[in-house]
Symmetry: C2
Subunit: 368 residues, 2 copies
Amino acid sequence: MRIICSKNNLLNGFLTVQKAVSSRSSLPILEGILIEVEEKKIKLVATDLEIGIESYIEGEILEEGSVVLSSKIIVDLIRKLPDASVEIKTDENNRTWIQCASSEFVIQGQSGLDFPELPEVNNQQKIEIPQDLLKHMIRQTIFSVAVEETRPILTGALMEIKEDQISLVALDGYRLALRKGKTSNHENYFISEVIPGRTLNEISKILTEDEEMVQISKMGNHILFEVGKTNITSRLLEGEFINYKQIIPEEYKTRVKLSKNAFFDSCERAALLARQGKNNLIKMQLNQDTLVITSNAEIGKVHEEIPIELEGEELKIAFNSKYFIEALRNIDDEEIFLEFTTSVSPCVIKPTEGEYFTYLILPVRVIE
Amino acid sequence: MRIICSKNNLLNGFLTVQKAVSSRSSLPILEGILIEVEEKKIKLVATDLEIGIESYIEGEILEEGSVVLSSKIIVDLIRKLPDASVEIKTDENNRTWIQCASSEFVIQGQSGLDFPELPEVNNQQKIEIPQDLLKHMIRQTIFSVAVEETRPILTGALMEIKEDQISLVALDGYRLALRKGKTSNHENYFISEVIPGRTLNEISKILTEDEEMVQISKMGNHILFEVGKTNITSRLLEGEFINYKQIIPEEYKTRVKLSKNAFFDSCERAALLARQGKNNLIKMQLNQDTLVITSNAEIGKVHEEIPIELEGEELKIAFNSKYFIEALRNIDDEEIFLEFTTSVSPCVIKPTEGEYFTYLILPVRVIE
């Protein structure tokens, strides 16, 4: 194998695929990145067997072939090279020469033939959605994915695509995050799959904030995201997701309209002492014109007041402040609705117009 | 005690003095920050008994008094308040009310009378030097301060002031960093004191990049730095510093002039594999027109070439790359001199004009 690429092309490629490198694997070759040169293309590949990323980079091909190089070494090395063209060549024993300006490195690689192949997903039916939309959808739901492995299905988020509707839902038993969006109309295509949280996290780092399209397709137990010259393949989670639509209350007895930022700041301050006291409990009292938030820990007390517009009944209710803070941090709207039924039923956070997001947070029972 | 200050004045004051708060002290009160209001001044104080920082802040005084508040809680709390005026008041049991806009906190403080007093340094003789000069002097020497406690005196840097000369020297047995500067002439004042590395580190964070003056004075075993409205007091290290002037060679057999950045980049790349191989050894070969740097670790080899102007004899020599990288990172000049005598004597790094800095690095003996 022998190629010449610009330093920046190489670096961007390596940084992209590196996200799938296994940090500690029982298979040492997975700590490396595969460079594969064939059919006039230079491809970089990394995988931890759950998620696989491959990226094509521009460059001059002098000889086809492949090699696996330690991700820890090669990425730092390329990063520190001067901004010039870089030649990479290997011999039959996978010894690899890397030359750039007046720097030359020789490192020992591993055989490209030993690197596991990524699962092939070549379904002709593809759904397209803008990169920025998918990036926002992930950011606005991923924090609700379950961290504990007790119910593995909840460590992923459910992606549903039906006609021109796409939605992403995550829930962990204490709260739920649902984000909806529109995609181009696909009458005959239906997806309802649970994607691992880690995959969504890595994809969102690769997605840009522009409207270029991502292609999504599915085959067997794998899903493929095509983002420009990069393909991300991921294993899907098996099992049935919770019927989340059943959980979201359709009616309310109390509805509050308030400033998202004022509410967020008050929750953060109230959480300060609550957190120090090692429980995150904050209490809310919904009055006609004000929402009073209080927190009472061993080390001190907080009292916060926020102006609101209330419709319906006044109410006292308590929550884990962390769940409000994480949801509010990811809402971009200036004003929001909070909907309540009783002091032991969940609070629903909604936009004041439309319903492109829904957050649901379970209350904490408090003995007064 | 009862005061009203702007949120930003409070926050800046707390962030400044917080640097002296003890992270884990046997004296719990040292985890707090003292607010002391007397003689129409509001003063914040923190200390770990080695370094003490006090800072005066603007505000309205409604009642004199003092209180000690947990640094961990108060700083976060003030940070999260809205940008408005903040009232702090205490009762006779040190219960403390903090009110800002529609937020109110009550936390339990400790008695200000229990807080240790900072040592008094009121020497009339003060030396003045610009803040930016002192900041640069610290940055360019502090990395050479010894980390290990085997010779406690070397965990500090020697500050010498004589006539209009100020110098700071740090050394750890493997390398030395010396930075000189000019101060206003003080004919009758002489300082030669070893300041703990940690103190210098915290002072440099408080110093700004402008030419406003710092006042330095000394009394007994303490030194005082006055930076605007902030006073930093530090214990000095006791014992005799190494006679560093004796160590710095005055002559050389080989002198090399080269680009600082090219040399730095090459050292960094050569160090990459050397570091992975868990020794930091790089070899240098000084030829007539080129400096060749090589490194040979189990995982691979590097070969770097840099154009140089050599005066004197060609030479082969080896170093711990870390010492070169740390010195070069803190040199701002474009070109530098390297001076050598033999392959077992130190390398001296100097500016090509003047001698405002001197770095000395011991070589590593290598069996070829």
